[in-house]
């Protein structure tokens, strides 16, 4: 690995630099929310409903109040007046979207196991938890509905009586002559897939601390969140705390994966109770509590149909989703499946397109964004359907893919959006080379011929995704409640070091490292002279935070443009002091030269600070901000290949190879990019093979802790074989595309296609996730009989 001393100043973009984030994390000095305490701080515990649906007949907190150390306890009813608005839902996709009033504590009715019903405040963590057990609640259980399709049936129990239905909305997107294409198609395939419910499992549980300043009405919140800026805006609306009095800080945050892209009841409760009691309040989630109270992911039934010619040219795609939203709409619950709405035609050139999504309420924990949010689901459906088409036509799945690839860029896809750049043959070729495709196919044939009990399967996923949320106008057009811009401020300090204030909020993504590289290179200063500050609304008040692989393609580009503004101003000062025209100045690696003299950006920073000799009318200081609203999404693509060995006697699936070749545009730090892909791939593999959140009919979460929800360890996962191709994005000056979610988006389909590929000779093509030994064994048994 290159170290900074080996690198020239001005040549740091693209280098695999060591991370600046590491030192604090490696030595235990990083401060996560639970690592902080404040004088006079008290603890909050939430009492949660053990019923999936019940009328709350009575709440009596007297028992809790009598417990030692307890300061206060409240029912939902007693706090009802604190709320100025429902907990936020930032995306209501249709005019008639049913939005329930989501209070931080339930009043009258609890609607899922884990719904908050009462809250206890005590001097210590254990006293708060002990006393929470002493709150008496009488519940009248009500009928429950867990399954989204059943919830749409006539006569289903209703999660929210007032809507008269469990349907939240139905949303459509159609282009081209879909019915005609299906009518004249040589061949059609119709598939039904299940996206099981997943639990995100960021290793740091959620937590919040609120410090009130009663004299001024100010409140500071430290939260384990991906979205401090969005939390500040929305919590101000929920609690009535004026936005200007509210500061939100995301300190070190231990992973998110979408589960912390939310604004939660506990944040609102801690705020209003700190305000009410005048003491700092802390709440830290217990893991099994979080399994009920932190959003889940996926949970869709997908129906996909392809219309194609006999050669395998896909003419039309129809996709229909039924999505389980759970009991309430969290921040982007309703919009999450729609992030995939444009992608059900995959990386393929298709003439006609019809997508429909119905969101449904059930008595379960709300679902929301989980790494990839909508795009892993879309990719899974189209990539499995393409394999089904290949089987129906008796053709090689790669031949079908190549026949249908988008090839002219920018490309308008069937759903109407424009793909920036790509070369899909290039990453497919590169992946096949790494794999040694012919050799693997030979091994597969040999095992098939000799009836080996360990069959080999090879699965492909040639994905296309859209990320980097994104043009604010587009988001507005699809009724998202916020913009898609992001902001950066660069401040040259008089001694020549630089602060970069960014509006994105990292929780593992290496923004400090990556943004330092961008700024150091543009300003021609050492990498170590750049400090990146983030995740604090008092330090960097403008920002849209981190999710949807947006931080580099939006925030990183904002930092680039802010650096350009710094250079523009520095050039004016240099021209003035060197007595040459601005046009006559050369700028390279932080030095302006002209007229036989030169000045560095560092020297100019001091000049701007003393302000003794600036052009007439120029403001002192060398500082610039930029708010960047991208003109398009970014469109990463790639080929992922999984090779599995399936034991046909036990149903056990062993993932023996995993090849990933991604095109994420230009790369700022290849090490960081590689790490993002590794982690994403692992999560997608885990959906295919192991993870599933299971409810019983009464709405109890059967997989209620890490003991029975299978988060994979190092022992289950292979080493990944990575390659990279590069088509820079023409829509931003860095040429970058998102990388945070590509691994998850691509890998689930590749693995399931590999499992099915191994089972085809046995007549098994219909297989749900996760492909556990039991599920595979049962499918084989069924096919045998």
């Amino acid at each position: 690995m290159a170290t900074i001393t080996e690198l020239e100043v001005g040549r740091v973009v693209g280098a695999p630099l060591d991370r600046k984030e590491d030192a604090a994390l490696l030595t235990g000095q990083a401060k996560f929310v639970d690592d902080m305490s404040l004088p006079g701080m008290v603890w909050m515990a939430v009492v949660r409903s053990p019923y999936a649906h019940a009328r709350i007949a009575m709440v009596n907190v007297d028992g809790a109040l009598a417990h030692r150390g307890v300061i206060a306890a409240f029912s939902g009813d007693e706090l009802a007046d604190e709320w100025q608005a429902s907990l936020p839902c930032a995306w209501l996709p249709t005019e008639d979207t049913a939005q329930p009033n989501h209070r931080p504590l339930a009043v009258d009715e609890a609607r899922y196991v884990g719904d908050g019903v009462a809250v206890v405040i005590a001097e210590s963590r254990s006293e708060a938890r002990d006393a929470a057990e002493l709150v008496q609640i009488d519940y009248d259980p009500l009928p429950t509905v867990i399954d989204a399709e059943k919830a749409l049936e006539d006569g289903s129990p209703l999660v929210h009586e007032e809507f008269g239905t469990n349907r939240c909305y139905t949303w459509n997107l159609a282009t081209g002559e879909v019915d005609e294409e299906f009518a004249k198609a040589d061949v059609t395939v119709k598939e039904r897939y299940r996206q099981q419910r997943l639990i995100p499992n960021a290793i740091e549980p959620r937590g919040v601390i609120v410090q009130p300043f009663p004299a001024t009405g100010e409140l500071t919140m430290w939260s384990s969140t991906q979205v401090p800026h969005i939390a500040r805006v929305t919590l101000s609306m929920v609690t009535g705390v004026p936005e200007a009095k509210l500061r939100v800080v995301a300190p070190a945050v231990g992973g998110g994966f979408g589960s912390k892209l939310n604004v939660y009841a506990e944040e609102a409760l801690a705020l209003v109770l700190a305000r009410r009691l005048g003491r700092p309040i802390k709440w830290i989630e217990q893991r099994s509590e979080g399994y009920q109270s932190t959003t889940h992911g996926r949970d869709q039934i997908q129906e996909i149909e392809l219309a194609a010619t006999s050669e395998g040219k896909i003419r039309a795609v129809r996709a229909k989703l039924t999505v389980n939203f759970g009991a309430y709409l969290q921040l982007v619950t309703a919009g999450t499946p729609l992030l995939g709405a444009w992608l059900y035609s995959g990386a393929y050139d298709v003439a006609a397109y019809d997508f429909e999504c119905t969101g449904v309420f059930t008595n379960t924990t709300p679902t929301d964004a989980y790494r990839g949010a909508g795009r892993p689901e879309a990719t899974y459906a189209i990539e499995r359907a393409v394999d089904a088409l290949a089987r129906k036509l008796g053709k090689d799945p790669l031949e079908i893919r190549r026949l249908n690839f988008l090839r002219e860029f920018p490309a308008t896809i069937a759903s109407g959006l424009t793909v920036d750049s790509g070369d899909y043959d290039a990453h497919l070729d590169a992946a096949l080379e790494i794999l040694d495709h012919d050799d693997i196919r030979r091994q597969q044939s040999e095992r098939r011929e000799r009836g080996d009990t360990k069959q080999v399967g090879i699965g492909f996923s040639t994905y296309l995704e859209m990320c980097g949320l994104a043009p604010s106008r587009v988001l507005g057009a699809i009724r998202y409640g916020a913009g898609g811009w992001d902001a950066a401020t660069i401040r040259f300090l008089p001694t020549g070091t630089v602060q970069v204030l960014i509006g994105t909020s990292p929780h593992g993504q290496s923004h400090v490292t990556t943004f330092s590289q961008i700024v150091a290179e543009r300003l021609g200063i050492p990498y170590d002279d750049v400090e990146v500050l983030h995740g604090d609304t008092a330090v960097a008040p403008l920002g849209m935070d981190t999710y949807g692989s947006r931080s580099l393609t939006v925030g990183g580009v904002a930092a680039y443009h802010a650096a350009e503004r710094i250079i523009d101003k520095a050039r004016k000062i240099a021209a003035h002091q060197l007595e040459v025209g601005e046009d006559e100045l050369e700028y390279e690696n932080g030095t302006f030269s002209g007229n036989g003299n030169s000045l560095t950006t560092k020297e100019l920073a001091l000049q701007a600070w003393t302000a003794h000799n600036l052009p007439d009318g120029m403001e002192p200081g060398l500082e610039a901000s930029f708010v960047y609203d991208p003109p398009n999404f970014s469109w990463p693509s790639g080929t992922h290949i999984a090779v599995v060995e399936v034991d046909t006697e036990t149903g056990d699936v062993d993932l023996i190879r995993y090849v990933a070749v991604d095109d994420v545009g230009s790369v700022i730090n290849p090490r960081v990019v590689e790490g993002q892909i590794h982690g994403g791939v692992a999560q997608g593999i885990a959906q295919a093979l192991w993870e599933e959140a299971v409810y019983d009919e009464d709405g109890n979460l059967v997989t209620g802790s890490m003991m029975n929800y299978m988060v994979p360890s190092a022992a289950e996962l292979p080493s990944y074989e990575l390659g990279r191709t590069e088509t820079p994005s023409p829509t931003n000056p860095l040429g970058v595309k998102g990388v945070g979610e590509t691994g998850t988006i691509a890998s689930t389909a590749a693995v399931m296609n590999a499992v099915v590929d191994a089972l085809v000779p046995f007549g098994v093509t219909d297989l749900d996730m996760p492909a556990t030994p039991e599920r595979v064994w049962r499918a084989l048994e069924e096919a045998r009989t």
Partner: protein, 168 residues
């Protein structure tokens, strides 16, 4: 009034006195029997580098060394380690120089959000102490009790290999 009832309760809970050596320093502590070692470290001693990621001894974020061997500190009571030596992530560097395993995690990009990292490092230190030249397979199995959601484990495995002197 509050203070009085508090002290009465403490008496009922049969507080036990223990002596624990943590990162080389001896601490005499009065502990409630139910206090988990991880909270003794974090909340009594202020050593917050050891993290808590679950409540079922599944994730390994709280891994520390007990007399040189890795244990999950959420699975032990404070009173159980009376007379023993504990090493936490804060005690691993010597004179400001990181332990080779810490250094290897840095060089191999074996961490992203870093929350699971102290636990992984302690588990890896213990592994390499027992098995100085582990195979990739042995590393993966030895780290089975630690969960990471960011890295997909590949660079963690590489880091342990690098710390063991394997060319990676």
């Amino acid at each position: 009034m509050l203070a009085l009832s508090f002290s009465l309760c403490r008496k009922e809970l049969a507080v036990g006195q223990v002596s624990i050596t943590v990162n080389g320093a001896e601490h005499i502590l009065e502990l409630e029997p139910r206090e988990l070692l991880v909270y003794v470290l974090r909340e009594r001693l202020g050593l917050t580098g050891t993290n808590v990621g679950c409540d079922t001894s599944s994730c390994g974020a709280c891994t520390v060394l007990l007399d040189g061997e890795s244990v999950k500190s959420c699975t032990l009571l404070g009173v159980q380690v009376d007379g023993h030596e504990i090493t936490t992530i804060e005690g691993l560097a010597t004179n400001g120089t990181m332990h080779p395993v810490q250094e290897a995690f840095h060089e191999q990009h074996g961490l992203q959000c870093g929350y699971c990292t102290p636990g992984f490092i302690m588990a890896a230190v213990s592994l390499l102490d027992e098995t100085p030249n582990p195979s990739e397979e042995e590393i993966r199995h030895a780290l089975e009790g630690n969960l990471c959601r960011c890295t997909g484990y590949q660079n963690i495995v590489r880091a342990v290999q690098a710390a063991a002197g394997v060319e990676v």
